[in-house]
């Protein structure tokens, strides 16, 4: 949010009753680059992480995105979890790991996602694309039928 200009009349008052901020530690309690495509988001994530680690006046920081992508209100690409709760690249990087290759959403466009907040995806560890969702569904159905068959026996 850009700062509004200070009224001139308050300058003197400002100097007298000053916010003596310099040296006071800063906590970046929410940050991100909202509603961007994935490469832009990831580039920002990595650059900002380096900057925040190196900048002394920043005492603490917290990336905003510790949610599954389908419910994140700043756009899905900042999410640290995919619809199944698996760590995305950003999620893994934030937790000190390597890229996972797990996409935030099956496509870059939330409207095309097979998972929605109304019908969230369950389970975990699934490869995050529409084709494998169908395949996994089929496998699970077959296993269910087989299990039922053996129980029946």
């Amino acid at each position: 949010m850009p700062s509004a200009p200070r009224p001139i009349a308050d300058e003197q008052r400002l100097i007298e009753s000053v916010n003596s901020f310099p040296g006071v530690p800063i906590w970046l309690i929410e940050y991100g680059f909202n509603d961007q495509d994935l490469p832009t988001t990831q580039k920002f994530f990595n650059e900002s992480l380096k900057y925040l680690e190196e900048t002394e006046v920043v005492e603490r920081y917290a990336w905003f995105g510790a949610s599954r992508s389908i419910v994140l209100n700043v756009g899905p690409n900042g999410a640290m979890l995919n619809p199944y709760g698996d760590l995305t690249d950003i999620g893994s990087w934030y937790l000190g790991g390597n890229a996972t290759g797990t996409e935030a959403l099956p496509t870059d466009k939330p409207g095309e996602s097979a998972c929605t907040p109304e019908k969230p995806c369950g389970g975990s560890g699934s490869k995050n694309n529409a084709a494998s969702l169908r395949r996994d569904g089929l496998v699970i159905s077959l296993l269910g039928v087989a299990a039922g068959f053996f129980l029946f026996l």
Partner: protein
């Protein structure tokens, strides 16, 4: 035994590199948002804290998250937030009371935050100042560090807030039987204040901010608050 070790070796290679890193990241934390649908996700973050990758979290409220109730402060420090004034005139001290009770029950709260975007939500600086006196000052007297209200810029709302806060303190001092939160002391090194030479200061120990935008925006926001 030897063959067992050979079998084990590939497994050892899979150990996450973070296990080898014994330094706790004191900067990196978690902004925890409501997660009723998938409580199984909560453990990811506390596991990371156990490994020292994350060291603190907040959840926009004053109570520790249920998922982390048994996680000690030394592993995953909970930072309470007083979202706004509980009563319209800011004269209550519910937050201070609640946090004091949490501390007495054994959770060593060391930092709290006060007011989420009061310049956006329309809490008047004067009301917030009153609420600060009733809640932040008693906690500071107990050694808790308190953050400046979380605002969009360090002047528009903050200047009158600190001025009002200072005024209230000055008035309190004229009446010797009023509670004193010890704010007449010189601000501690590294603490910020809204003091003038003549008036007592309302101190703050850190400045929580937010930033949404590109690197340029982020750097600007940090510098804006660092040099205000």
């Amino acid at each position: 035994m030897r063959s067992f070790t050979i079998l084990l070796a590939p497994a050892l290679l899979w150990l996450p590199t973070s296990l080898a890193d014994s330094a706790r990241n004191l900067k990196r934390g978690l902004a925890y948002t409501p997660n009723d649908n998938w409580p199984e996700d909560d453990k990811l973050w506390s596991d990371a804290a156990e490994k020292g990758v994350l060291s603190w979290y907040y959840n926009f409220g004053w109570e520790a998250s249920k998922a982390y109730e048994s996680v000690p402060q030394s592993t995953f420090e909970f930072v309470p937030l007083m979202w706004g004034a509980a009563t319209a005139n800011g004269t209550d001290s519910y937050f201070a009371g609640n946090i004091s009770e949490i501390i007495d029950k054994g959770r060593d709260i060391t930092h709290v935050m006060m007011f989420s975007q009061p310049d956006g939500s329309g809490i008047k600086p004067k009301i917030a100042a009153r609420s600060w006196i009733n809640n932040a000052v008693p906690l500071q007297a107990k050694g808790v560090k308190v953050g400046l209200p979380i605002v969009g810029d360090p002047y528009n709302w903050v200047t009158p807030f600190l001025a009002n806060c200072s005024d209230i303190l000055a008035n309190k001092e004229k009446k010797p039987n009023k509670r004193d939160g010890g704010a007449r002391d010189e601000p501690a090194a590294g603490a910020g204040s809204g003091a003038s030479d003549k008036k007592p200061a309302c101190k703050f120990d850190f400045v929580p901010i937010t930033s949404y935008g590109n690197m340029s925006t982020l750097k600007d926001r940090v510098e804006l608050f660092a040099t205000a």
